[in-house]
């Protein structure tokens, strides 16, 4: 092998080592660990969130007077027809089954309750719902039976009234954006409730809040507990009238003025409690010193000396017209009325009803909201996962720890579990819906944990340019030397053959001798 080809070989090996081993090794050693998130699966879920969901709710139908052996099948057809008349954004259907008393009783003994429709013969046609069970009563008369209208009537009652929440969210509207979204707080399984008595001045006041809460609120908390658990605190706050005294010198005050001047900043109890979500009830009394005549803008309605309004996503404000005398005890009678109003408004603040649309039956509505919340939670956590994917794609140098991957996998597993419960017609009782809701809460929590993983942000402060800046002093000289050498070696082959040609003629040699003699060659070092 000639010297030139050996040199070429050596040079090529250098360049190969640099390109094949050096660069990948450098890249590998200085790279950040990015766990492989199931991007495509999450993307497909994001695009079609409920493609595998078909909520199936079993409903048992019974008739007290007449026996209709095929009523369930006939109603099923009507229900399907009614449901298919609208485009469903989440697939749902009712499974109409014939009432089986032994089965229902056995299940009830274990705390499992199902939706039941009772057909009752009466003078008129109508329907009713029990407040304390998931029982819908449909009244019918003989002509209805004769006209064979009963299945349609039952179907309509079920779809449009008993399951009006599902009908509203899943068939007619958007699951996530209902009209009362602006008022309601985001759903959270644990909500803190602060009940504040505010007073513009500093004279002492007492209130019979403990007794009132125990009689009124304890049953209410128990009642709502499958959906949301409350922790409640009460406090008396002096020298704070939410800045309402500033309206003292203004004439023609409207509610807009009031909402503009209200300062709720000192009532944000979210800072002190561990719950993520909080609602407030503030009962404001003016100061006797600054407002001896009371707030002029509060309208008196008979006996009632206060007005209340909902502050969206915050709570309820009760503004009293007249200031309290020193050493006043606010009695249970007064608080009863205020709390009654508050309990009503609370349904709206929790998103269970709107001011235009009241509850059909509290038990049935809460049962429906378990399903809606579970679906909304699924939607929310898939959105969170998708945001996570977008985030990691946007920041290429962001680390993705293995923990995040584990959590994402857990979220996706939980999602499948929820889908299994929602889709299974055999699972249609209270406890199953509770389980679905709990799982969905866990799903939201895990997806947020994955998104807010602190480890992911750490490497973001070390951008790619810094990495390059640190390694450039080493890489720069080596790369330049290596590649200029490589290029010049290529050139050498051409110049080598030229030299061979040039060294042929004797004449030229002579010339060289001559130039040497003239001293034309100066010490110009052209050999590198």
């Amino acid at each position: 092998m000639s010297t030139l080809s050996l040199r070429k070989w050596v040079c090529a090996i250098f360049v190969l080592t640099y390109v094949v081993i050096g660069l990948p090794l450098w890249d590998r050693l200085t790279n950040i660990y990015r766990a492989p998130l199931p991007r495509d699966y999450i993307k497909s879920l994001h695009e079609n969130k409920f493609y595998d969901v078909h909520v199936t709710i079993p409903v048992y139908i019974r008739s007290d007077v007449y026996k209709f052996p095929d009523i369930h099948a006939a109603t099923q057809i009507q229900v399907n027809h009614l449901l298919n008349s609208k485009k469903q954004n989440v697939q749902w259907s009712l499974e109409i089954l014939l009432f089986n008393e032994t089965f229902i009783e056995l299940e009830k003994a274990q705390g499992r309750e199902y939706h039941i429709v009772t057909l009752q013969l009466d003078e008129f046609v109508g329907y009713n719902a029990a407040y304390d069970s998931k029982n819908t009563v449909v009244y019918f008369d003989d002509p209805t039976v004769a006209r064979n209208d009963l299945p349609f009537f039952v179907a309509q009652t079920l779809v449009e009234h008993t399951f009006n929440v599902e009908w509203g969210y899943l068939s007619n509207g958007d699951l996530m954006h209902s009209e009362h979204n602006a008022v309601a707080v985001n759903y959270n399984p644990e909500i803190h409730l602060s009940i504040n008595l505010l007073k513009g001045d500093g004279s002492p006041v007492d209130w019979e809040i403990e007794e009132t809460l125990k009689t009124y609120f304890t049953p209410f908390r128990r009642f709502l507990s499958p959906l949301v658990n409350f922790t409640v605190d009460t406090s008396v706050v002096y020298f704070n009238d939410l800045n309402l005294h500033s309206l003292n010198n203004t004439d023609n005050i409207t509610w807009t003025d009031v909402s503009h001047s209200i300062d709720l900043s000192e009532l944000s109890s979210m800072n002190y409690f561990s719950e993520d979500s909080a609602l407030n009830l503030a009962i404001v009394f003016p100061s006797k010193e600054t407002n001896p005549e009371g707030f002029s803008f509060v309208k008196v309605d008979g006996e009632q000396m206060w007005e209340s309004f909902i502050v969206p996503q915050w709570g309820v404000l009760v503004i009293n017209k007249m200031p309290l005398e020193a050493n006043t005890v606010v009695s249970k009678d007064y608080l009863d009325a205020v709390l009654y109003k508050f309990a009503n408004d609370l349904f709206e603040l929790l998103g269970l009803s709107t001011q235009f649309d009241s509850l059909f039956s509290p038990v049935i509505t809460i049962d429906s909201f378990k399903r809606i919340r579970a679906l909304q939670n699924m939607n929310k956590s898939v959105e969170t996962l998708w945001s996570l994917i977008k985030l990691t794609e946007q920041f290429k140098q962001m680390a993705i720890p293995r923990d995040v991957l584990e959590k994402v996998k857990e979220v996706l597993d939980i999602r499948l579990q929820i889908v299994e419960i929602l889709n299974n017609p055999a699972k249609g009782d209270d406890l199953s819906w509770d389980e679905a809701l709990n799982l969905s809460n866990k799903m939201v929590q895990r997806s947020e944990e994955a998104f807010f993983d602190g480890q992911m942000l750490k490497q973001n402060f070390f951008p790619q340019e810094h990495k390059l800046a640190v390694y450039m002093p080493l890489m720069g000289p080596i790369t330049i030397v290596l590649f200029t050498g490589f290029v010049s070696l290529f050139k050498e082959t051409e110049s080598g053959s030229k030299e061979k040609k040039e060294s042929l003629s004797e004449e030229e040699k002579k010339e060289v001798e001559e130039t040497k003699a003239v001293g034309a060659i100066e010490g110009v070092d052209e050999i590198n």
Binding site: G202, T215, Q304, Y340, E499, A520, I527
Partner: protein, 622 residues
């Protein structure tokens, strides 16, 4: 089918029935129908809450004035066994701050002590610290708490939550308290007292952990005072707290804010079952102001030289129209509290039967009166109760200000200083001076950061007086506790129980090495030095008293922060050079000198020109 109106009526009815039964309350209680009973009734006997406030004013020598604000409040009782998720558990807050109680219950804190102190208390002039020093901290922020936990790790986790939350509440850097700043005092902070007090444990399998940390020389300012005022039920708007104003309060020689919370149970033996517990909180604000300076600043907010008529020259020295040695400070003074605090006291505390009370401790040559609507009123005991809802002010005057009420002697003076020079080692020297005729038994608590590596073997004791020359360290130190530091994980903790003989001055000295920190561990102002927290001395006998020395500033060697990049560049350049040479040696063609000269000859410009000339000539046929 029913018409729509019918449906909505049914809806409303069902809802009302549903809700009413769900809340087990008859329908007639609904809004509008509720007229039975009285909605508001006046308690003739008054309503009382567990809240008290006092203000003590005490002139100190050399025209200084100590004002001590005291606020005490209790929480509403609670049952430790109750979970707030129980359907009939409701937490009530009246005068106790809502910012503190949920935090204490969440982190299982049984005792909380927080101090914000700044300035120098001149104990030789002013005597004992207010509250015998038990309500003051070292310069900066100090936090210690007694936390119930299943293990040390569990307790530390709660401690960290506590520190972070307090940091947010008080706008202070308490969140910088981490594992390397936290100590577990053993001999100090009165462990015997703690046992006697019977601090309740809500879970019998748990233990109590006392944790202490301080941020030396942390700046204290108005953003720390405002949260403290918000904790009070009066929110700084009535009673004595209306005097507290950040602008004036921090314009003082020494100021201190303290918060102490204790858990108390009605019956310590039964609280686990159904006994009630409550929190007891004390908040204190102590300020020492130099009255002439404050008055001068009120007169001239921008300092400028005094005119000739305002100058008081020292007559024992030469003086004329051009030369004047100012005379020592005046001993005649008249001022009112509104001069010092910029505000009047507005109204009183109405929340408890004891009204706001102001007491002035003075001698006969002082006069203290309360000013109400331009009228001045005095009392025999110089204590004033604020009973009405109007503006108050305290007016004081004296002809000889250096005669002040009896100041209790300080049982011991302690000072600590740095010795040695250089950036790699140094020493600490603590001087104890017992001016009394009784021996003083005390506990010594010192926490040093891990980068001060102390040599306990160099610990030496020296007595200054001849009578005590033969004393050795073992004669003085009764028991000792030493927890060596771990780099970045634990600070050095040194505790002694020692007795200083009567009329004796001794010094303790030891040496330490200064460690080098990691590049990223230096603060942005690395050349400022590192603040070292105060030494805490608690006197056990003859009188309970606590004092802290001044903080210290240790200089560590500070690196040139561009060094790492320089190192990278230089080493990379060297590597590049070596590689380049090696690479060239291996890949370049080797030629003899003769060949090289030939190549050079053919490459010269003259040669090329000649070749060109020849070519042209040959083409022309010449």
């Amino acid at each position: 089918m029913l018409c729509n109106t019918m449906v909505s009526i049914v809806h409303t009815l069902l809802f009302l029935i549903g809700l009413a039964i769900a809340t087990e309350e008859p329908l007639n209680n609904a809004e509008g129908t509720n007229v039975s009973g009285q909605k508001f009734r006046i308690m003739e006997t008054g309503i009382q809450y567990p809240y008290e406030e006092h203000l003590n004013i005490r002139p100190l020598p050399h025209n200084h004035l100590l004002t001590s604000f005291e606020f005490e409040m209790n929480s509403e009782p609670f049952f430790p066994g109750d979970s707030s998720l129980d359907f009939d558990t409701y937490d009530h807050y009246t005068v106790f701050p809502k910012a503190i109680e949920p935090l204490l219950r969440r982190t299982d804190v049984k005792q909380l002590h927080l101090r914000f102190t700044r300035g120098y208390w001149d104990s030789e002039e002013w005597g004992r610290l207010p509250h015998d020093g038990f309500k003051s901290g070292g310069s900066g922020v100090e936090l210690w708490a007694l936390i119930e936990g299943s293990s040390k790790e569990d307790a530390f986790k709660k401690w960290k939550t506590l520190a972070n939350s307090l940091s947010g509440s008080f706008c202070a850097s308490i969140n910088f308290i981490d594992v390397s700043k936290t100590n577990y005092p053993v001999l100090s902070f009165n462990p015997q007292d703690r046992e006697e007090q019977g601090i309740p444990l809500f879970n019998p399998t748990n233990n109590l952990y006392l944790m202490h940390a301080s941020l030396a020389n942390e700046p204290i300012c108005t953003e720390n005072l405002t949260p403290l005022l918000k904790l009070l039920p009066s929110k700084g708007k009535s009673g004595i707290s209306s005097l507290l104003d950040g602008h004036k309060l921090f314009d003082s020689t020494w100021h201190n804010m303290a918060i102490d919370v204790k858990t108390k149970c009605v019956d310590n033996n039964h609280y686990l079952n159904n006994g009630e517990c409550f929190f007891e909180m004390e908040a204190n604000v102590d300020v020492v102001s130099h009255i002439p300076s404050v008055l001068a600043r009120n007169k001239n907010p921008i300092p400028k030289p005094l005119g000739g008529e305002d100058l008081y020259c020292d007559l024992s020295k030469p003086y004329d129209g051009y030369q004047c040695f100012p005379s020592p400070e005046t001993t005649e003074i008249q001022f009112s509290l509104s001069d010092l605090f910029g505000k009047n006291i507005s109204g009183s505390n109405d929340l408890s039967f004891t009204h706001s009370r102001i007491c002035v401790s003075i001698t006969d040559n002082w006069l203290a009166t309360i000013k109400m609507d331009e009228g001045l009123f005095g009392t025999d005991d110089n204590c004033f109760d604020l009973t009405e809802n109007r503006n108050y002010d305290i007016y004081m005057e004296s002809g000889s200000t250096n005669e002040v009420a009896q100041i209790d002697d300080v049982p011991i003076y302690v000072s600590r200083s740095l010795t040695g020079y250089g950036q790699d080692h140094g020493g600490l020297r603590t001087v104890f001076s017992n001016p009394t005729s009784k021996p003083v038994r005390l506990s010594y608590y010192e926490s040093l950061p891990w980068f001060m590596r102390i040599y306990l073997s160099t610990l030496e004791m020296e007595a200054t007086s001849e009578a005590h020359k033969n004393l050795t360290l073992n004669d003085i130190v009764e028991s000792r506790y030493y927890m060596p530091s771990i780099d970045r994980k634990r600070s050095t903790q040194l505790e002694f129980i020692m007795t200083i003989p009567a009329n004796c001055t001794i010094s303790l000295a030891y040496e330490f090495d200064k460690a080098l920190l990691h590049f990223t561990e230096y603060p942005p102002d690395a050349n400022h030095g590192f603040e070292i927290e105060s030494l805490i001395i608690t006197i056990l006998e003859p009188v309970p008293y606590q004092l802290r020395t001044a903080t210290l500033l240790v200089y560590l060697s500070t690196p040139d922060f561009s060094m790492p990049y320089n190192v990278i560049i230089i080493s990379s350049t060297i590597m590049g050079l070596i590689f380049g040479t090696l690479y060239n040696l291996i890949t370049k063609r080797m030629v003899t000198m003769e060949e090289a000269e030939n190549i050079l000859a053919t490459r010269s410009i003259k040669y090329k020109l000649m070749m060109l000339r020849q070519r042209i000539l040959s083409k022309l046929g010449l």
